[in-house]
């Protein structure tokens, strides 16, 4: 079904590639930002570094508020292979560890380390593995993990996990496609740091031993194509390939299809078809980590859109708040009637609900379009079933059907139309003449389906627990009955068979009484000090109960102010007395404690009665 290695190589040699279905050609607007070199930004006052920036498991904080940290110092650690650490991007004092608005469409908060920078940018010690070929592969993978590298193109999948594959890799694909309009971060990176990217690729090649390395760049970036070709020219099995400009050619699955005609199975991974893909930014970060020992603390971010006076690419520290970058690029509020900042590109990025959102490892672009630059999508109209969406879909879905069923909340049918294969590229909504926010509907449907699945699982678990509990209770009851029955039988047996039984019982009873009396005496006289603690506790409990009862009564009273006044008043009095007593308890004798207990019990009972009465009144 799929093209084998030789055929792919042949096609690559003749530059005659495959294609993926659908796709759209939005205007690129790349020249807004890609004409000047990547600039440096002044240090912000504070950095906000979210604790979790990758897909996978949380890791554990190893710094506390008040600690001084240096640039590159790890802030978290974890023993789980699914976690990557985060690092301080510059030196300063940890002033807070709390919830801060996250780089996510929801605008919800996530645990974030806030560092007040001292402006010195003091560096933490570095551990380069300069001669990396001499090290064990596992050491290199570990170093990549410790440098905090997770995929920088999209979802943020931990890079070291991908690099630890046991399956044979035919094609190592380096993704420099950058198909989203406006974004030019990878473009500039390739133009200015092709050599370092190449070093990163070398590290990966050493780890993975692929048969062939393909560096794919869209043909609207001729300069990047050239620099990458020059950087890779000595390497025999590296090939820089120019691919036709079409959105979303940079999608992992689409790029694999264009280069090899292979399709990653639904629910599968690229490695299942012999491919592995890394973003050029990730390669750059790997070179940084291995050759210089620097963890991932900064990345290229495109600041663009016509509401910025100085659109450009910058090196932004991870954790820099967006507001700082907007100031740097001279955001001009007059350009926007409705302010709008998009993190990511116009097709797949998300709007920010606050400019305090920090730059994270996956942030490649901040887009601030002027009025009329990107259309303010109007209200949707009815779908006219024109199928423009289906023609644009790179995954060959039927967006209009998925939309229909998602909107009607017929999620099962939506799933039958392979809703979960949708890559949310937005091509369908981009062409829809009825301006239906199709992807939004898919997202709602997907999250609701996932939620329902979780709930179903939970319900299933609850059902099982409920049933086992019922079984247990039943068994216990049966066991108890059985025991009673046996005991009764035994007694009868004994009575029948043994005439002495009565005497014996009488004797046993007497013995028991005597013992009890002795114990009582003991307790009353000698053991008092030892018992105080217990009694203290009991008193406390009594007090707590009394408190609670009072509260309950008060609450009940609140709800039923128009009912009889007597009951609540009396409860209040009764409930307060024991409390006072309980407070004075410490100095009083055990006798008093007992009294308090009784009082509390009375109070409790009364309160309950009052409450019951009032609810009854209430009901009437």
């Amino acid at each position: 079904m799929f093209a084998d290695f030789d055929l792919v190589m042949e096609k690559l040699a003749t530059k005659n590639l495959w294609d993926f279905p659908g796709g759209v050609h939005p205007h690129g607007y790349k020249t807004l930002s890609n004409t000047s070199p990547i600039a440096n930004v002044s240090l912000p006052e504070k950095l906000y570094i979210p604790v979790k920036q990758h897909i996978g498991v949380d890791s554990e904080l190893i710094v506390n508020v008040g600690d001084y940290v240096k640039a590159g110092q790890a802030l978290t650690q974890s023993h789980s292979p699914f976690a990557v650490p985060i690092h301080a991007s510059s030196s300063g004092k940890v002033v807070d560890i709390s919830n801060h608005v996250a780089a996510h469409a929801s605008g919800l908060s996530e645990k974030t380390v806030v560092i007040e920078l001292d402006g010195l940018d003091a560096q933490y010690e570095l551990h380069p593995l300069l001669d990396y070929t001499k090290y064990e592969k596992t050491d290199i993978v570990e170093a990549i993990c410790q440098a905090g590298i997770s995929g920088m193109g999209g979802a943020g999948f931990p890079t070291h996990l991908k690099s630890n594959s046991n399956k044979p890799v035919e094609f190592l694909i380096i993704n420099g496609v950058e198909c989203e309009p406006y974004i030019s971060a990878d473009d500039r990176l390739m133009r200015e740091h092709a050599w370092q990217i190449r070093q990163g690729i070398d590290v990966l090649v050493h780890l993975l031993a692929p048969k062939q390395v393909i560096i794919a760049v869209e043909d609207n970036k001729p300069d990047a194509l050239e620099t990458m070709s020059i950087a890779c020219q000595q390497q025999e099995n590296y090939q820089v390939v120019s691919i036709p400009t079409k959105y979303p050619a940079g999608g992992e699955k689409q790029l694999i299809q264009v280069l090899t005609s292979r399709e990653v199975p639904s629910n599968g991974l690229p490695i299942d078809v012999g491919c592995l893909m890394y973003n050029v930014g990730t390669c750059f970060a790997i070179a940084d980590a291995i050759i210089e020992g620097k963890p991932l603390t900064k990345r290229v971010v495109t600041l663009t859109g016509k509401a910025l006076n100085k659109p450009q690419n910058v090196w932004a520290l991870i954790g820099t708040p967006v507001s700082h970058l907007l100031k740097h690029a001279e955001y001009s509020p007059t350009e926007q009637t409705y302010p709008r900042i998009i993190m990511g590109g116009p097709m797949m990025g998300f709007t920010l609900s606050s400019v305090q959102v920090p730059v994270v490892k996956t942030t490649n672009c901040l887009l601030s379009p002027s009025e009329g630059e990107l259309p303010n999508i109007e209200d949707e109209r009815a779908c006219i079933r024109c199928s423009a969406c289906a023609d644009a879909c790179p995954v060959s879905l039927l967006p209009q059907q998925m939309f229909w069923y998602s909107k009607a909340k017929e999620y099962e049918t939506a799933e039958e139309y392979n809703l979960f294969d949708c890559i949310e590229c937005g091509a369908c909504a981009y062409v829809c003449p009825s301006e239906i926010p199709l992807v939004h509907y898919y997202r709602i449907a997907k999250s609701e389906i996932s939620q329902q699945k979780i709930e179903k699982e939970k319900a299933e678990k609850a059902k099982i627990r409920f049933e086992t509990r019922n079984d247990r209770l039943l068994k216990e009851k049966k066991a108890r009955e059985e025991k009673h029955r046996l005991a009764a039988e035994a007694r009868q047996q004994a009575m029948k068979s043994d005439t002495n039984a009565k005497d014996k019982i009488a004797a046993a009873l007497a013995r028991a009484k005597a013992k009890k009396a002795a114990q009582h005496a003991d307790a009353d006289t000698s053991v008092v000090p030892a018992d105080t603690k217990v009694d203290d506790k009991k008193a406390k409990i009594a007090a707590a109960i009394a408190r609670a009862s009072a509260k309950k009564a008060a609450a009940a009273k609140k709800t039923t102010q128009n009912t009889s006044e007597n009951a609540p008043t009396s409860t209040n009095v009764n409930a307060e007395t024991p409390e006072v007593k309980a407070k004075n308890n410490e100095s009083e004798s055990a006798e008093d404690k007992k009294k308090a207990k009784i009082a509390a019990a009375i109070a409790r009972a009364k309160a309950k009665k009052a409450k019951a009465k009032e609810t009854k009144n209430n009901d009437e």
């Binding site: 605008g107 100031k327 609850a462 059902k463 627990r465 409920f466 049933e467 707590a544």
Partner: protein, 189 residues
Amino acid sequence: MTFTLLAILAFAILALCFGALLGYAAIKFKVQSDPLVDQIDQILPQTQCGQCGYPGCRPYAEAIANGDEINKCPPGGDATIKELADLMGVDAKPLDAAHGIEDVKKVAYIREDECIGCTKCIQACPVDAILGAAKHMHTVIIDECTGCDLCVDPCPVDCIDMVPLASSSQTWQWNFENMTVGDIPVKQV
């Protein structure tokens, strides 16, 4: 005139054929299913709260199978009613308010320093979601708690609260409406 009739007849027959084909497809791809009670039980949220008036979800499922109303389950809410209606082939109706109203998902939380360790809540919890031994503080296993509310009343010191489950960015439902949104405090340059 006869032609018109013929035309109408032809159309009718064609429409019937297409309809029959679609219907056939629907039947052909239908999956064999469990007994009715199991199916109903599958749909119910398994909160085991008893708000429906039955001691747990399964008894209510049995009751529905025997003809009880389908709108008595507040935790399941409209979604559950809709599914039940589909399954039973009856019209969905609004939730019967006599049994309670649909609420946000909550879980029980025990204020541990106030707990006196009386084990009353353990006895009340239908899914054994509370851990603790006599005279020791108790705690709720959040993942197991169904939010049924049954442990709140028995507690003599009133230290159990029902708290709404916090929403995280993972469980966010793409609801832009009630989001807190800021502005851009940029000075004019």
